[in-house]
Amino acid sequence: MSFFSDLWDEIVNIFSSAPATSPVVPCAGCGALTPEQAQQWFDHFKSRTDIPWNYPNDCCYNRAEVMDQEMSAAGVQAGKVWNYAPDISHPLRVDTPNDPDGFVEWGYHVAPTVPVMVNGVTTPMVLDPSIASGPVTPQQWKDMQSQPGSQLVLTDATPYYRAPDGRVTATPDAAQIARVFDQHRADRAANWAGR
């Protein structure tokens, strides 16, 4: 550790993540879902036919965006979790029947998170129907991607794409997001053509 890293750690320990000015401080656990509600959101998204769940090769950023937008509109305090491969020779890897090779590899992966209250404790849970069968913890989600050296980053719902160095890309409009889904459906068809 270095001096300024230690200083930042001290600041995080001493000061809160509550607004510095607003006297309205969210109570711990307010807005958290029950495990059942989290599963209901998961099942709802899994059943959305406009989202190409069967194309794990790409599209995670678009899927995460539309899920977060729908949950945020419903008042859920959704966020995102990002998993970054350490380098190009050590990609994330997930076995899947949705690719002819039986697996896919990524430089990064992203999915939405929701706060879930379990036994009085609120914890973020990941909703990722592309690789999981229900809500999982960020660590479980990371472990599913088989790269121990990867870096996990939790953010709010804002970034459409977030580079490993923290730079973000502006969110496209709804029409552009729909076009990305269309493109990825076509990419999936091409990926399976003749295989």
């Binding site: 001096f3 300024f4 200083l7 930042w8 000061f15 510095a20 000015t21 006297p23 730079r167 973000v168």
Partner: protein
């Protein structure tokens, strides 16, 4: 229970003053120098302009900005301003990037002591 906009404004100001007092105590414990509250208040306003909202974000920015002497000028030094004005970073990442940058400075240049 409802509170009026005047009461909300008063509570907001009180919270801001208390936060600046806590931050002043923290900075003093790190630098053995007592920062002027007006200087911290000016930097607080600058932090709001950069999109900082949480105590951690504001405290992180002000601590480094004050230690760098930014309160003695009307604008921040380039190494801070470049990060804080970056439209492609969210607030948490801006503060983290500031501390990462500070860590890369040659030893002895930083104004904060242990």
């Amino acid at each position: 229970m409802h509170i009026s906009s005047d009461q909300m404004a008063t509570l907001t100001m009180q919270r801001r003053v208390r936060f600046i007092e806590r931050l002043a105590g923290f900075i003093e414990s790190k630098t053995q120098r007592s920062p002027e509250r007006t200087a911290l208040a000016d930097l607080f306003s600058r932090a709001m302009g950069y999109g900082m909202t949480t105590e951690q974000q504001v405290a992180g920015y002000i601590t480094l900005a004050w230690a760098s002497g930014a309160h003695e000028a009307t604008i921040d030094p380039d190494w801070i301003a470049d990060v804080m004005n970056d439209p492609f970073r969210v607030a948490d990442d801006k503060v983290k990037a500031l501390f990462d940058k500070a860590d890369r400075f040659p030893r002895g240049r930083a104004a904060v002591s242990t």
